[in-house]
Symmetry: C2
Subunit: 298 residues, 2 copies
DNA sequence: CTGATCTGTGAGAAAATCTCACGCAATGGC
DNA sequence: GCCATTGCGTGAGATTTTCTCACAGATCAG
């Protein structure tokens, strides 16, 4: 069995034979003409016979080259078809994005129409994953979530935006809660907290220079919800002062349904798009790019 | 247009799909299993989907892998066919060896039957090239010749044996030519020389410690022939003392038709097989290997 | 269990490939 | 005709890909 020549050399041969010029082939292959010229030389050395003759400015196949060309053309065309078919099959499958319910409801859903209009080829399917968000799951292609580094090493994370947390409540709550200082507020308010983000209030309190003891006492009087989503509903219902990612309450703040007396506080966590290893990178990158644009637009 | 994945990765995929095992594929491709494993990984990363599942000790194609496999198989089979067809075409052409007439007549022709019997696939054609021996000529695949380095940079030279020159004459000539020493011989003999190797006698004389003047006088009395072939015929006819490559007179020495009073002298030249650039290397190498064996056998 | 036989992977070596910069040849507008 | 333009070939060195080696974890037969 005679061994095949370098496959890249064959590809160069195919391109040159097809386009009739080293320069044109080089452009098609996204390399310099020198690289293609070398590949041809390699191939001719392999077979021990010239495959092209110079003809004026261009090249023409020799008799031996003409003998080789049809098979090579056919083979590469077949390779291209096969790969394209698989790519098409993959693209035709919906791309499943998992996302915590709160983020889904308060940020993504309002933008979903636009997203589908901008990226129809994505065929996006969104699932609000209760609990398990691991993008390694079979039925999830990517996850949109807040998390602090370090991120799992085997997952490709596209960081989108640093998390900014903000203390919010309804105007009515603030009306009967002193909030000249963080200390004063924590001494009087009903704190709303979520089990999934136990660090949120301590981070905020530390940044505001409040004694841990003061915070501990305040949390004693507060209420804890299982999910961020319920926490936000509780805040909107005027049950107390909540701490939440700014992104999720931005609309309520603009509309005046919620008020934030203090500026938002950047945490070490970040909103990111997590891509499972060995999954369609392409569509994930498209989605990440769209998210970046959307977040930049406000 | 979606770009093709690495062609080598596709080849690895083909081999693994065909043989059902990384290890077997690695063996078929003459690489380690680690290399193949990595290629598969590359390919799966390219498509963003697993192409194989582990199944016990081996691997089986996933649904996506099964989608890809037939095209890839077909494409590589087509590549192999095309390349094999060209290789067959090339091998079916005779391989033309050029060679100086003297070497042809006195060394190669006596061995030609054996050569053709040992290497029938070579389809050897021998031409005695008068004058031009350049293996770059269209109609010459290789040249067998003596020459001193440096050899042309663009020609692949397989050195076979150092040239050894020897002073010879018929027994009758020696009978009436004093030859106790080189000096004595040069003082009395009729020197036979060839225009194509003007360095031969000077090299010999210098090695024997003879004064240049003595040699110059001897050459004055001698005769010069255009080709080595005529020189040897002249020596055999008893016209004088010739200097020639040992290889060409070895048979005459054994048979006693010629006698060499002094041992042969190694020169800086060598018998070599010269291969034109960009010509069938394979058959040239086979021929070179045969020549090496033949020369070693004496 | 235990040894044999797989595949997967990190680290570093080896090989293939590419780029850059230049030389030379052919062409075609002027 | 002449020269600017276009295209191919190549040496040197950088870069990227690919490979090997050595080891780890998994599976299976006996």
């Amino acid at each position: 069995m005679t061994s095949l020549p370098s496959l890249n050399a064959l590809r160069a041969f195919d391109a040159v034979a097809r386009l009739g010029s080293v320069t044109a082939a080089a452009e098609a292959l996204h390399v310099t003409h020198g690289a293609v010229s070398r590949q041809l030389r390699t191939l001719e050395a392999h077979f021990g016979t010239p495959l092209f003759d110079k003809s004026g400015r261009g090249l023409v196949l020799t008799a031996h080259g003409r003998l080789l060309q049809p098979s090579i053309r056919e083979a590469f065309s077949r390779l291209g078809e096969g790969c394209a078919a698989l790519a098409r099959e993959l693209e035709s499958q919906p791309f499943t994005l998992a996302c915590p319910g709160s983020l889904l409801a308060r940020w993504l859903i309002p933008r979903l129409d636009r997203l589908n209009a901008d990226l129809p080829a994505l065929r996006l399917r969104v699932v609000s994953s209760e609990g398990e968000l691991d993008p390694r799951r079979e039925d999830i292609d990517a996850t949109l979530r807040f998390a602090a580094p370090p991120w799992p090493a085997d997952i490709a994370v596209f960081p989108l935006q640093a998390e900014r947390i903000v203390a919010v409540a309804t105007p009515a709550v603030w009306a009967h809660t002193p909030h000249a200082t963080a200390d004063a507020m924590l001494g009087a308010a009903t704190l709303l907290d979520t089990a999934s983000r136990p660090q949120a209030w301590p981070q905020w309190a530390a940044a505001m220079g409040v004694e841990p003891a003061t915070l501990a006492a305040a949390r004693q009087r507060g209420r804890t919800f299982e999910h961020l989503y319920y926490l936000l509903e509780a805040a909107l219902a005027g049950l107390g002062v909540a701490i939440a990612p700014e992104l999720l309450v931005a609309n309520d703040l603009t509309q005046g349904r919620l008020v934030a007396p203090w500026p938002a506080l950047e945490t070490n966590a970040a909103l990111g798009l997590w891509l499972a290893p060995g999954r369609e990178r392409r569509r994930g990158e498209h989605l990440a790019a769209w998210l970046v644009r959307e977040l930049a637009a406000g």
